[in-house]
Symmetry: C2
Subunit: 127 residues, 2 copies
Amino acid sequence: MYERKLIPNLKCGLDLVGEVLYGKWKIRMLWFIHEGNLRPSELQRKIPDATRRVLNVQLKELEDHELVTRIIYPVMPPKVEYRLTDFGKTLIPLISAIGLWGDEHQERLRKVIMKQYAPSPIDPENV
Amino acid sequence: MYERKLIPNLKCGLDLVGEVLYGKWKIRMLWFIHEGNLRPSELQRKIPDATRRVLNVQLKELEDHELVTRIIYPVMPPKVEYRLTDFGKTLIPLISAIGLWGDEHQERLRKVIMKQYAPSPIDPENV
DNA sequence: GCAATAGGGGAGAAATTTATCCCTATCTGA
DNA sequence: TCAGATAGGGATAAATTTCTCCCCTATTGC
């Protein structure tokens, strides 16, 4: 496993939040778990762009940070569920607000984000 | 400059927000600008852990994403100010809420984050 | 026996992000 | 004249994150 070489600074609230939520899929996983997609395979289906591996890694971190719990059912084939802890649940209103902001400003965001990938006035499919 | 090879997916609000706020110092810079630290040198003093370079790079991205504007005063020595755009200002309540959550749960967050760096029961300063 | 399903993990490569180092320009003050 | 402040950029290295590939467990169905 990768081991960090630089220790993060944790001066203010924003620094702390960054440490636990900075990860490409973490916020989305918390959200999907909140919505009831508890099993790893469900999360994967919800987030097909991420590989199984990263999701596992990030779920492990969320667990270490006490935002979710991992429940293992001793059955075969294996069944596992991730659930938000009470602590994790306190994040939901924030995530919800962030998502709403993104939805509200969807068009504008899409426009400014796509600017940087712009240089394709001609659709390659049509060439 | 680095050019991305993979195009991001922008399916939902959270994806979009991620694209514009994902960057180690972006949220903090928006916050400090909001607090009135408008000049690059002020921001640097506020965020001494980041190098001048990254701050410049990330400010440029915030500008491209229309969250801040760059105002250049044609004086010497140079003077530049970054200000939140109206669009950028709509993020402030969210950032504020995130920061507050972090502050409220400070102790717990610090504890769970430090677990991973734990193996130093002895303070190196005292050896 | 073999494939599929369900959940994981390690090694190493690739992508991405940050950090380091060095350079430009002008003005002020010692 | 030289140091320092102010703002910024390019090249390259290092750190970090994510992806790819391959492997393991055990059961059910064919």
